[in-house]
Symmetry: none
Subunit: 212 residues, 4 copies
DNA sequence: GATGAATGAGCGTTCATTCAT
DNA sequence: CATGAATGAACGCTCATTCAT
């Protein structure tokens, strides 16, 4: 009988992550304020007081949850990008967007952008963390690709910062819509085809014109 | 004594819209849950009880506010688009994005996307209204342009629905960031230059290749 | 119909003092921690939320209550003492102790010493206020009498500070016992006779021996 | 290996008294309500659940602690008083007050009066025990001395019960102040000098007048 | 016996809503 | 109509107590 979900005295070290998982799901679905600590506790299969054994209060649980969600993902992306160094800037850019979608857009992490957009105003500390730990590094990768492509003549000269925003927005917005305005997405939304369409658009849009 | 903002004898018909304005500003800034009815009343210069004379409860005020914000804007856009019928599809698309930015992105209405993203999950009725009254008509305009451009050979054939999402996302995301993750926007963000960069990218990205 | 205890919209300015009265009675009887805000509200005839309209939280209510109880009483005592300036130091001392008993020991204020003893450790700010606003001025009066009596030869020389403590203690302790260890007081305790006995003891105890 | 304070194998019989010691220190310092069972357990060096192996609940622990503190002390006082039988009533009274101070006022037991004053109202059973086991016997000794002194003409006739209260109060109050309103005691309070001053005052105050 | 993770009743506090004036 | 004092349900959090190990 390996499994014994006895209500008392269970696996201690699993608790925090179970609570964080429940918190993530509920915060992502309903937002910070509309999520009750009791909901989280029940979703995690524990009693009202248990979350407080591991997290000082609701706000700290929220922040801890974000930390847990954000941090472990980025190294993977950076490592993968290195393996593409031999490709052209355009190929690397498309590979990066696809990877981004697969690592975040197709996983529960896709809920994060919506959550951050909704709560950043009320949790500036969290917003800063999100930006520093997650957005900045991601932006840096794409920015480097754009600069490299422009320098090599593969891409035409563009305002890099604005292009960066315009390139990321479709990926982020697709995640947002999967978790918020679902009605605004095509009924049978296929994320990979969507990213492919985006890449087609961007690749031709960025390319330097052939001198006839 | 033409107008005297006496506490009682003010133009009464203005009350509801003053309350709605205050509600809009506060809901947009802090979200639904974090906005107190008392804050709205105070911001509108009325007492705690007055909003309830015009709106059944907080949720109805929220919905009424959204209706008031959304509906009056769309006719204007549609009218303007008609005047561009003589332009090419690409020119019309750029003109439309610029107009969109000017009519919403540069006005207080830019706060709406963030608000909808944050609250759609808790107010499905509101989300449906937003989609039907605001997003659908806007999407329809752009969809029509894309189809027309493809049909005429000006644009290359693309998956219209996915392209549509990818085209709108950068505009929407810029509005969101102005109201939520401000840190993620370039410090001196110039919306019109941003839209221009986006149009450059899209126009070339959409164009059909010249044969030969 | 002058009285109309309608549950809503009643005499506003009476509320804070009604709440303070209820709080005083309950805090004095049960101590700070064992007194629930709900008890206070019910005792004051209001609902759970009403005390918070007038006092930030339980602690502030406690402090406000003490301020209200302490401050108004001292001027009266000082004024009365002035009227006794023509008496001997011993006569003044006895008159002062009797007055003290009548102004505090026989009124609800007699509950204060017990309350302060019980809570001073957990509310140092309150304890300081109590000492500064209440004890210090009272001590100063008695100290001055002792010094005057010693200087004039009416009292024999004594360590004034220790005598001061020993003189006040019986008065304070009688108040404490009326509200706490009631069992330790004679069954038919007559405060005025008690003070008289104390004065007899003190007057003779303090008197300088007649030479010869 | 004569003694090794290993976490488990410690002398078990000591557990309850270690818990009582910790409880006494904390209850005396912070009061009943503000003292958490967990604090007591930690201070006693045991785990959260251990106190419940020896005491039914917090209230029983409180009562057991008081019993343990109170009972063992009184025999000693009575024995010592017997040894003074040859002294005058006044000398015996002073010796008794000094002994009282030394046996209680200068030991941790000095914390008891404050604790009893604070909690008697919420624990009438405890208050009765305190009075019966501690106060009554002490009062009886002093009462007997007063009666004897009056009968022999050493003391003038006084209301014995009230004098009794007035005589004990300064001793008790000094203990209270050391643990509660410390600010109200002279900065360098010397208990023995204080008792001496009190005795000077009382001896002269009680003495029968010499018939001139 | 001893542990400490877990429980859940209970309290302080907030705020949407009401209604006497 | 407008006010704002009052209400009371609901939620965050604490801590005495339990019990599987």
């Amino acid at each position: 009988m390996p499994e014994m979900p006895s209500p008392r005295g269970r696996r201690k070290e699993a608790r925090p992550s179970e609570i964080i998982s429940a918190a993530f799901a509920l915060f992502a679905e309903k937002g910070y304020a509309a999520t009750k600590m009791e909901d989280i506790a029940r979703a995690a299969g524990v009693s009202r007081g248990t979350p407080y054994l591991y997290f000082t209060n609701k706000e700290e649980l929220f922040k801890a949850m974000l930390r847990d969600m954000l941090l472990p993902k980025l190294q993977e992306g950076e490592a993968r990008l290195l393996a593409m160094a031999h490709l052209s800037a355009g190929e690397q850019l498309c590979a990066l967007l696809q990877m981004w979608w697969q690592l975040q857009g197709e996983t529960p992490l896709a809920a994060l952008p919506k959550l951050m957009i909704a709560e950043a105003g009320n949790f500036s500390e969290v917003a800063e963390m999100y930006q520093k730990e997650f957005i900045e590094p991601g932006d840096a990768m794409i920015r480097a690709l754009l600069q490299k492509g422009i320098a090599s003549g593969e891409f035409r000269p563009l305002d890099v910062e604005y292009a960066l925003t315009a390139i990321c927005a479709p990926v982020v917005m697709a995640m947002v819509m999967r978790h918020s305005l679902t009605c605004c997405l095509p009924a049978e939304f296929d994320g990979r085809r969507y990213i492919q369409t985006l890449c087609d658009l961007l690749l031709q849009g960025l390319r330097a014109r052939e001198k006839a």
